[in-house]
């Protein structure tokens, strides 16, 4: 039982949000299915440590991170081959090379950008298969031993931040049509402050994320199109910053309760939600009635 499925069913932004929010460590195998890059036989391995992207490799390609080092002449293949065996087990080669002065921090960042570019490209695929090999239950030292440390820079980025970047860059929005929030939905903030630097529209949207104001009203207030606001909202959702709250114009149930009248005694359920809004009415709870049905149902177990 693992996290697996098709990209057309569960999108990469959703998946990265899930791996981030669950603090997952492991290997995400992605087999894209597209005419110009069919990776069925050479899948992408996207590596996560505690919900953070730490590297990307291909099944049949080695030395991703070090390609840039050789390309730019920062180190020769001969020096790399000499230094590699000295890198302690479970330590990313990038941080080791930096610790001995072979590479600078700037060079490491440039190396990580190569990884990141590959991952961002993955977000553009409409079709593909993914499966996550979960290491989260293992000890940290064991997890690190399973990671391709000889191809890692040691730099990491939160899964949600990667998803946010990918969605800012994409032009391919058709595949997300069913996941965009409804025009009538509100947005609820999940954190008091955004940990990511937001672009202008996202910042404005963040201000309106009071769970009440609908996307349509926000778009009108911001003099922007519904579509653009929905896309920005989706970005914030995938960044783990807001949650869509569907709206419905629920009238008070007290209008006519007789046909479905709840029992009249006992304690009632909470009367206000987290935003202080009055939720729709529900039935009150009769303890003896509930116990009677519990006894009845237990006979069916």
């Amino acid at each position: 039982m693992s996290i697996k499925g098709f990209l057309e069913s569960y999108s990469l932004p959703e998946l990265f949000r899930l791996l981030d929010s669950g603090g997952k460590s492991g290997k995400l195998v992605v087999k894209t299915d597209s005419g110009y890059d069919d990776s069925t036989n050479n899948p992408y391995y996207v590596w996560f440590y505690k919900g953070r992207l730490v590297g990307v490799t291909r099944a049949n390609t080695k030395r991703n991170a070090l390609e840039k080092v050789i390309e730019n002449g920062w180190l020769s293949p001969r020096v790399i081959d000499k230094l590699m065996p000295l890198c302690p087990e479970g330590r990313p080669v990038g941080t080791y090379f930096k610790s001995i002065g072979a590479l600078s921090e700037k060079q490491l960042n440039q190396m990580f950008e190569v990884d990141l570019k590959q991952v961002l490209d993955l977000f553009e695929f409409n079709y593909g298969y993914f499966e996550f090999e979960n290491f989260s239950h293992l000890e940290p030292t064991t997890i690190l031993k399973k990671m391709p440390c000889s191809e890692m820079t040691g730099i990491s980025l939160r899964g949600t931040e990667v998803a946010l970047s990918a969605l800012r860059n994409t032009q391919n929005w058709d595949r997300f049509t069913n996941q965009l929030p409804e025009n009538s939905s509100g947005l609820q903030r999940l954190t008091p402050k955004s940990q990511y630097r937001l672009v202008s529209l996202e910042q404005e949207l963040w201000k309106y994320s009071d769970s009440i104001t609908s996307i349509k009203d926000i778009a009108r207030n911001l003099r922007n199109s519904d579509v653009e606001v929905k896309r920005a909202a989706f970005r914030l959702m995938m960044a783990g910053l807001v949650e869509e709250v569907p709206q419905a114009n629920l009238k008070p149930a007290a209008i006519d309760l007789r046909p479905l009248s709840p029992v009249a005694t006992g304690a009632s359920v909470p009367s206000a939600n987290s935003n202080g809004n009055k939720p729709a009415s529900q039935g009150t709870t009769n303890v003896s009635l509930i116990r009677s049905f519990m006894d009845f149902l237990r006979q069916k177990l």
Binding site: Y10, L18, G22, V245, P246, A248, S274, Q282, G283, F293
Partner: protein, 181 residues
């Protein structure tokens, strides 16, 4: 007459109609109709109105079960559903990640707009492609274990499994009632 009203919600095909059929003492009113939209790719038939079932004790006390149409938007149907409701069961199919988004929407709606006690029933966990219950919870945005509503694995076509799920909800109702009294 004393009544309890339980509403079963969830995406298309999560098992809501089966759930009610498995336990109801009366023939469940068949509100399934041939699906004509994108739902048709999931099920040939889908629930277009509310499924309805009931359980009656010798004393005449009744427990009503109402199933929400899977493809329902958050419209007038919910107004009918929430009248006098005592608790909800959100059914989520563990092997259909494409439905997690819809389930998450329903969950947020019930949490924020209705706030009746709710539990989550995870179905189809025995299927080959099923996700772990904990991963389904993450996909629903339920991150912290202590903040989650009760979660049960349920086989919607087994009356004993459905009974167990209902008992879990009733236990939760008692806890909520005790907490606010």
């Amino acid at each position: 007459m004393e009544k309890l009203k339980i509403v079963i919600v969830g995406p298309v095909g999560a098992g809501k109609t089966s759930f009610i059929r498995s336990i109801s003492e009366v023939e469940v009113v068949d509100t399934d109709r041939r699906a004509t939209d994108e739902t048709a790719t999931r099920k040939h038939n889908t629930t277009v109105a509310m499924d309805y079932g009931k359980l009656t004790l010798k004393s005449g006390k009744v427990l009503y079960l109402h199933g929400a149409p899977g493809q329902a938007r958050f419209d007038f149907m919910w107004e009918i559903l929430i009248r006098g409701v005592h608790g909800y069961i959100l059914l989520v199919d563990a092997h259909r990640p494409q439905d997690f988004h819809s389930a998450r929407q329903i969950l947020n709606f019930v949490k924020e707009r209705i706030q009746a006690p709710m539990i989550i029933g995870i179905t189809h966990t025995d299927c080959e492609d099923a996700w772990e219950v904990d991963d389904v919870c993450l996909a629903l945005g339920l991150l912290e274990e202590e903040d989650r509503p009760p979660i049960v694995v349920v086989n919607a076509i087994s009356s004993s499994s459905v009974a167990k799920c209902l008992v879990t909800l009733l236990e939760h109702l008692l806890k909520v009632a005790a907490a606010v009294s």
